[in-house]
């Protein structure tokens, strides 16, 4: 019977920066010292997670023309920290967010292949397309790519990366000391790619890595984003965490797979999930409330609306209603996460509607938008809810985001994971030598046709 139970996949998001992390808590540690990563990775491995996961931000957020001061800022370089984490772990995957707009395929493909070798087949790449001119100002190509062009570049980027990874056959290094042949003729295959974004004639210089191709993860929600995910991603990190919404997203994206000749199980969907645990549900709700108030302090709430409005709202009471002034849509100060999407006015209309319908103050509204915890309750309730999402095909699991660095995952690993195991829907140990692809139950990628013929 237990064979029919769908298995839950969990990723562990290192909650370094932004307002999810409560730095004012007395137990909060450094978001950058390596000791924090050691602790976090050890917990993820103790909890038998599929992978540890890092987001990426390539420019420090600014507010009113100054570097943002209120939340945790400052994080490591994604690839370097994951290589170091690979050295101190044995089983858990190492997955990083790395953008396709401000990297070059040859370099990133070789870095990811390197990470896959050094981790013994545990590497993954969350391919994101952001950014705007604000981030671009830190890079050679600078400037801005249109939304459509960004996904065009992302598609070509992923395609080219796969060709590079496939250009070495398995066991491609002959290294026959007796005959003196290091590489056979035709190894690696020359990769010729002529596209609108890239024009290369490459000989890849990293031998085929344990997973052949590192696992490709994707985060992005537009129609273009979903199409890209359906074509290339093996995991999608989404923000759809309410049951019905999650199931709709799941059906939509999985429904697109057939078009690309893919099976349902070749893609896992792991939405972000936050949590608050208590001995009773009531206690958990109180805990959730406390965490939210720490996450959205009055000055944080005001900053949030200032970023949407693009103007100084410091005179407003965070415990009062939304400002009744018009936004400054021409302003350059409105930057960063808060108003990345959609037009500002439409956004504000929505915020007004929500706050009026539910009678929310500025701070309550921001809590509602950014600090509503996905799972709130006893460990048993949380385990049951997670299991329901997976058994009823709303998700394949979750990307768990704690609110504390580096101990935020401990309680989940200690109290929720054993209950998932009891339900029969979560692994009880890692298999020796399992790759990240194995942990996720993903198919092994086909070798490139030219090599199959070898």
């Amino acid at each position: 019977m237990s064979r029919s139970i769908r298995q839950i996949h969990l990723a562990a998001h290192f909650p370094g920066v932004n307002s999810t992390t409560v730095w004012t808590d007395p137990t909060a540690g450094s978001q950058i010292d390596f000791a924090s990563f050691e602790h976090f990775a050890a917990t993820a491995e103790r909890g038998l997670f599929d992978y540890v996961f890092l987001a990426e931000g390539l420019r420090l957020r600014e507010h009113k023309g100054r570097i943002h001061e209120l939340d945790v800022l400052g994080r490591p370089n994604t690839l370097s920290i994951l290589a170091a984490v690979a050295a101190i772990t044995e089983h858990v995957g190492v997955v990083g967010t790395l953008n396709t707009t401000f990297n070059e395929p040859y370099e990133l493909a070789r870095q990811l292949a390197t990470l896959d070798h050094l981790s013994g087949g545990r590497a993954g790449w969350n391919a994101v397309t952001s950014s705007d001119a604000f981030h671009g100002a830190n890079f050679r190509r600078g400037g801005y790519l249109d939304h459509a062009d960004r996904y065009e570049r992302a598609r070509e980027f992923a395609q080219l990366a796969k060709e590079l990874w496939d250009s070495w056959p398995e066991d491609g290094v002959r290294a026959d000391a007796a005959t003196g042949v290091f590489l056979d003729d035709g190894v690696p295959t020359r990769v010729r790619h002529r596209g609108a974004q890239f024009d290369v004639d490459a000989l890849f210089d990293v031998p085929r890595s344990p997973q052949g191709r590192p696992v490709i993860v994707q985060a992005g929600d537009s129609a273009d984003g979903r199409a890209f995910g359906a074509e290339h991603a093996e995991v999608i990190f989404s923000l759809h965490q309410e049951f019905e919404d999650a199931r709709e997203f799941y059906d939509d994206v999985k429904g697109r797979l057939a078009h690309y000749g893919r099976q349902e199980d070749s893609l896992k969907i792991l939405p972000a999930a936050t949590f608050a645990i208590g001995d009773t549900d009531e206690e958990a709700r109180e805990r959730s409330r406390e965490i939210a108030l720490q996450q959205v302090r009055p000055e944080v709430a005001l900053t949030y609306v200032e970023q949407v409005w693009g103007r100084d709202l410091s005179g407003y009471d965070p415990d009062g209603p939304l400002p009744d002034v018009e936004p400054d849509t021409g302003s350059e100060t409105a930057r960063g996460w808060a108003n990345r999407h959609a037009a500002v006015r439409a956004r504000i209309a929505k915020l007004r509607e929500l706050s009026e319908a539910e009678g929310l103050s500025i701070r309550e509204l921001v809590i509602r938008l950014t600090a509503q915890h996905t799972f709130v309750g006893t460990p048993a309730r949380i385990a049951a809810e997670i299991d329901r999402f997976v058994q009823e095909r709303a998700t394949d699991g979750f990307t768990i985001v704690g609110h504390l660095t580096p101990h935020g995952l401990d309680e989940f690993a200690e109290r929720v994971v054993p209950l998932l195991q009891e339900r029969g829907s979560y692994r009880r140990s890692y298999d020796e030598g399992a790759t990240l692809r194995d942990l996720l139950g993903l198919p092994v990628p086909h070798p490139a046709p030219a090599l199959a013929a070898r």
Partner: protein, 407 residues
């Protein structure tokens, strides 16, 4: 009293002899494995040498090696050096980790944060060696630039190639951007002031606003200031233009002196004279540029054994070994003598390039280092916490602190 020097080891795939992979002690099938790099770097770490450099290039072929007619009897393929260094960081305790980075195709922003992160992961032992220029093979892999450096000009002089000169201007900008990004957070930027709700003090984090000929970088680093403040910046240099790059930006320069009469212009005195002149011209800050001399070494217990090993390798490769660095084929004592000579001539350190890995790094660790220790030629590890401290380099203050004082 003999002068004392630090020892560095330069890691290159299966060693610096192109046929080294055919030795029975070589591990050519494991070049991409974590165990290979962990073992090599731990051997070096345990021996007490000061730092390890790790070679890299963004192509299957070696620098200036033609794309056509690829020789298949030589080692091909490698891993990214910054990631090898990051991987071994938590697995080693004292050794400095100095990966190679090519400046032509990489983003200075990514490199700056990558090396800062290496500094955090190694708890203050990070450095970087910058290499200028883009070879034809590298350009084909990236497909972004038509022009680049295809060969050293016939004269052998960098000055005679506009492409190489441009590559060095780019490398110079690159180095400048690295150090600006490394300075962009003052040490005390993170204040965690619960009373005002401020995690950091924005006055102590600075957008660098850099605009140059090759790129512009506006923002501050995303990484807070790392344990060393600025990780160690190094270059390998053979002539005036690269000497000037080193004098302007580096903490440490690797040079290739030959014994008197070996190669004109490569006597240590001549090199130092050029470096001093460049430093007078270009160097800012208080620290003297540290000068390390490179030696390519093949080590066996007896001289005949060393010679026959070298002959065997040369025969496999079809040509005698050549190198930009002086080659010492001999006993541990011969290598120690060569190091002592350089020490007496006043270099700060000697970088040994093992002809064969792991064989010659094991010989360095087990035989050469103890000899140097017994004659007090080796600068002993004084337990200093960071690479800079071990090399007697001060921890630099962020330029933004100084600017404030100057106001």
């Amino acid at each position: 009293m003999t002068e004392q020097v630090h020892i560095a080891i330069a890691f290159e795939r299966t060693g610096w002899h192109p046929a080294a992979w055919r030795e029975s002690t070589a591990r050519p099938h494991e070049l991409a494995s974590p165990a290979y790099w962990r073992d090599l770097l731990r051997t070096a770490d345990d021996s007490g040498v000061a730092l390890a450099t790790i070679e890299d290039a963004l192509s299957l072929t070696d620098r200036f090696e033609p794309l056509e007619g690829l020789r298949r009897d030589r080692v091909r393929g490698r891993l990214d050096a910054v990631l090898i260094a990051s991987f071994v960081a938590p697995l080693t305790r004292r050794i400095g980790l100095v990966p190679t980075v090519t400046t032509a195709h990489t983003e200075p922003f990514h490199v700056a944060t990558g090396i800062q992160t290496l500094d955090f992961a190694s708890r203050g032992r990070a450095g970087v060696r910058l290499v200028a220029g883009a070879s034809a093979a590298e350009r084909a892999n990236f497909g972004r630039r038509a022009a680049g450096v295809d060969a050293i000009p016939a004269s052998g002089r960098v000055e005679d190639s506009p492409e190489i000169l441009a590559a060095f201007r780019e490398a110079s900008e690159f180095a400048d951007v690295l150090s600006r990004l490394w300075d962009s957070w003052q040490d005390d930027a993170i204040i965690r002031d619960a009373a005002t709700g401020r995690f950091l003090d924005a006055d102590r984090v600075h957008n660098i606003e850099f605009e140059g000929e090759f790129f512009a970088v506006t923002g501050a680093s995303i990484v807070p200031r790392s344990p060393q403040g600025r990780p160690l910046l190094t270059v390998l240099a053979h002539q005036t233009v690269p000497y000037r790059l080193a004098a302007a930006h580096a903490d440490l320069v690797f040079t290739t002196p030959h014994e008197a009469g070996g190669r004109p212009g490569f006597e240590l005195d001549a090199i130092r004279a050029e470096l001093d002149a460049a430093a007078d011209d270009l160097r800012t800050g208080d620290e003297r540029l540290r000068v390390y001399a490179d030696l390519l070494v093949l080590i066996e217990d007896t001289e005949p054994a060393a010679r026959s090993a070298a002959e065997r390798l040369d025969e496999w490769d079809g040509a005698p070994l050549t190198s930009d660095a002086r080659i010492v084929v001999g006993t541990p004592g011969d290598v120690a003598d060569a190091v002592r000579e350089l020490a007496a001539a006043g270099v700060d350190g000697v970088r040994l390039r093992p002809a064969r890995l792991p064989a010659d790094v094991v010989a360095i660790a087990e035989k050469v280092v103890p000899l140097l220790r017994s004659t007090r030629t080796l600068r002993e590890d004084d337990g200093a916490g960071t690479l800079r401290a071990r090399l007697d380099l001060a921890r630099p203050e962020s330029r933004y602190v100084r600017e404030k004082v100057a106001l």
